[in-house]
């Protein structure tokens, strides 16, 4: 247990250093290094943001202005038709309504996934019961079934129970667990030390209380990952709503976007505006959950 003094360092900032002196040359090198790195990062950022910039440019053009010009026009631009956003959200197509619909479905899905997968994941991770290994293997095997094989039987089933045209076929299945998330949650929960369970049992907690008060709060990283994945999958889901919804008031964002493009003459400015509106929630989600999410994805494989 030696106390560590300040390690002798080559990087001592000498107060007196003229360019050309050894200290000055070193600092100049470091500065050049930093500038290069930042320049590269800004360049890559710009490259990634270019399509978004182009989308914004296109969204702000008036109706008849050509969007695909010989030299692409980037943001900022000379057109500022902000009312395009209002038009697509409320007038031409009730895109805002679609966003609200999708938000309802997505929220319900996240709720269902978290409840069901956390409970099942806990059972596989912590409870010992006869047949648990077999059930787990069956769970894994279900992940191998391609969704194309399931569409038609599921559709026939939902029509038979009378759920066609409602949101129920899009929401209810998530309350019955998703194999991938269950697996992820189970693996994460296994990294939580079993000593905590023992301590909790000695403290008098029953298994439900151990789940609710101990394991679940400690599993927030993996639960965040599951929630975000569910959000993205639900928000972008086109096939499900397309199959089960027939009332245009109930359409979702994905259907709205698809409909915009398949019209005879695609109004690109409105389409781009709708697109930008559609990606906004995902971007906001990322900004708010960034820290938790990256920690979660990284730690899902590591001890929590």
């Amino acid at each position: 247990m030696r106390t560590l003094d300040e390690p002798a360092s080559l990087e001592r900032d000498e107060p007196v250093a003229t360019p050309g002196s050894p200290g000055g040359r070193y600092r100049a090198r470091r500065l050049a290094f930093k500038v290069t790195i930042y320049a590269l990062l800004i360049a890559v950022c710009g490259f990634i943001l270019l399509p978004v910039g182009w989308m914004l440019t296109a969204a702000l053009k008036p109706d008849l202005e050509p969007v695909f010009t010989p030299t692409p026009e980037w943001f900022p631009t000379r057109w500022w038709e902000w009312k395009n956003f209002r038009r697509v959200l409320t007038e031409n197509m009730p895109f805002l309504r679609y966003m609200i619909n999708t938000m309802i479905i997505v929220t319900a899905n996240i709720f269902g996934v978290l409840i069901s997968c956390a409970l099942v994941g806990f059972a596989f991770a912590r409870l010992r019961f006869r047949g648990s290994k077999v059930l787990f293997y069956i769970l894994i095997v279900t992940m191998l079934i391609p969704w194309q094989a399931l569409i038609i039987p599921q559709f026939l089933f939902f029509v038979k129970v009378g759920w066609y045209g409602t949101y129920l076929p899009l929401i209810v299945p998530s309350f019955f667990g998703t194999a991938f998330f269950i697996f992820l949650i189970r693996q994460y929960m296994r990294t939580i030390p079993k000593d905590l369970d023992d301590a909790a049992r000695v403290d008098g907690l029953n298994y439900w209380q151990i789940f609710w008060r101990i394991i679940l709060p400690l599993s927030t990283p993996v639960l965040t990952v599951c929630a975000v994945f569910t959000f993205l999958a639900s928000w972008n889901n086109l096939l499900g709503p397309l199959i089960y919804l027939d009332d245009s008031d109930r359409f979702t964002v994905a259907i709205g976007l698809a409909n915009l493009v398949t019209r005879a003459d695609t109004p690109w400015n409105l389409t781009m505006a709708a697109n930008l509106a559609a990606i906004l929630p995902s971007v906001l989600l990322y900004f708010f959950l960034q820290k938790k999410l990256i920690g979660g994805i990284a730690s899902v494989g590591l001890k929590g």
Partner: protein, 417 residues
């Protein structure tokens, strides 16, 4: 009344391992009982069965006057301190300590009072709002203890709580634990593999090996009257020196001979051990503790028949003592007991033992007074106190004392095979 009784307790795991064999133990109310033994001896399993974290294969456990076999851990009115503390990482110290009270529906004011009282005992008042990851090892250990004492249980169960602390902190916490236990007078079962902890903390110490109780006695008795080779070699640091020797009769005296030397066994010692008579002319295992030896030059009036001329190999000056290591041309005791004792230290110790066994050479450690002038490589005479010799049966490992074995349980089965 919180005396704890284990009756014919047996534990066989699902894979067939018999971790605990027909174990009987009575722990008096308010006493501090230490379960000690090498890794894998079953002591933690016994503790977990008392806690209710493991089921029993056979037998009964009583806490107070209730049979608790089928009672879940939370209802047994016990508290446990874990080796890795097992503090809830997402809760503050206060919440950690208050959780069990909350679960038992203790009203908030009462809860608050109990937590603060427990915190005061362990000097935790300043860190009540911190989370475990912000605490040092010693603080976490105290919080773990606080969580245990806040419940005012009938018994404390401690599973090697100090093994993750550094040496100085361990000494300090040992004293704390002792103080708390004496203040609160709560029956305590303490599991450790460190025999120093066992000797300093326990009112009663139970030495276990491979699921069998070897000896149950006070620390002093364990030290001076070990029931068998295993207990003798396990208790005491540095460990007892063991060597194969022969008992012979020379000129009317009983002499124990090894490595070409002989040590006269005084009449009173032989009289106290009538069982030795059966071993005349045969091999016995001789045990001499390092404390039972000294530099002969510093022992006035030493009997010349109690001396060993040696050459010092290693000299460890500790300030208060000097430990002298030297070799003897006698085969070391190479039985299952000694192999297990060596492997409990580490694999190098076991390898060393094997090497010495093949070379038929033993290494002894003697504790000399600090005034000794013995130097490495120099000759020296070591005086062996003949009143501090230990004799063991080479076949069973049992201590040779009277006509029968002195230990209550397990001596027959604790043997060298």
């Amino acid at each position: 009344m919180a005396e704890i009784t284990l009756h014919r307790v047996r534990k066989v795991f699902a894979d067939g391992t018999e971790a605990v064999q027909s174990f009987d133990l009575e722990i008096p109310d308010g006493s501090f009982m230490v379960l000690v033994g090498p890794s894998g001896c079953g002591k933690t399993t016994v503790l977990r069965m008392v806690a209710g974290l493991e089921d029993l294969t056979e037998g009964t456990i009583r806490i107070g006057d209730r049979v608790v076999n089928d009672i879940p851990p939370g209802a047994r009115d016990i508290a446990m301190v874990f080796q890795n503390y097992a503090l809830y990482p997402h809760m503050t110290v206060y919440q950690n300590m208050a959780l069990s009270l909350k679960i038992h529906k203790v009203p908030r004011d009462e809860r608050n009072r109990q937590v603060r009282d427990a915190a005061a005992v362990l000097h935790l008042e300043d860190i009540l709002n911190k989370r475990p990851r912000e605490l040092s090892g010693g603080q976490r250990q105290r919080v773990a203890m606080g969580r245990a004492i806040v419940r005012e249980p009938q018994a404390f169960l401690m599973d090697e709580p100090l093994s993750n602390l550094d040496a100085k902190l361990r000494v300090q916490m040992r004293a704390e634990i002792l103080r708390i236990q004496q203040d609160l007078q709560v029956t305590t079962i303490y599991v450790t593999h460190d025999q120093t902890e066992a000797m300093t903390l326990g009112d009663l110490v139970a030495v276990m090996r491979k699921g069998v109780l070897q000896q149950l006695a006070t620390p002093d008795e364990l030290y001076s009257e070990p029931a068998n080779l295993f207990v003798g070699g396990f208790i005491g640091s540095p460990a007892m020196n063991l060597v194969e020797a022969t008992l012979a009769q020379r000129e009317g005296n009983l002499v124990v001979e090894f490595a070409g030397h002989g040590i006269r066994v005084p009449d009173e010692v032989a009289a106290a051990r009538p069982g030795l008579a059966a071993f005349l002319g045969r091999t016995v295992i001789l045990g001499i503790r390092p404390e039972g030896m000294d530099d002969a030059a510093l022992v006035p009036g030493a009997d010349p028949d109690s001396r060993l001329p040696i050459v010092v190999d290693v000299r460890e000056g500790m300030g208060s003592d000097v430990f002298l290591h030297f070799s003897m041309d006698a085969p070391p005791v190479f039985t299952k007991d000694t192999q297990e004792l060596a492997s409990d230290i580490d694999e190098d110790a076991l390898a060393g033992l094997k090497e010495r066994a093949s070379e038929r050479r033993s290494v002894f450690v003697a504790r000399a007074s600090p005034e000794t002038t013995a130097q490495v490589g120099a000759r020296c005479e070591i005086h062996v106190d003949p009143h501090k010799l230990y004799f063991f049966d080479p076949e069973t490992g049992a201590s040779i004392v009277g006509d029968r074995s002195i230990v209550e349980v397990g001596a027959g089965r604790s043997g060298t095979d």
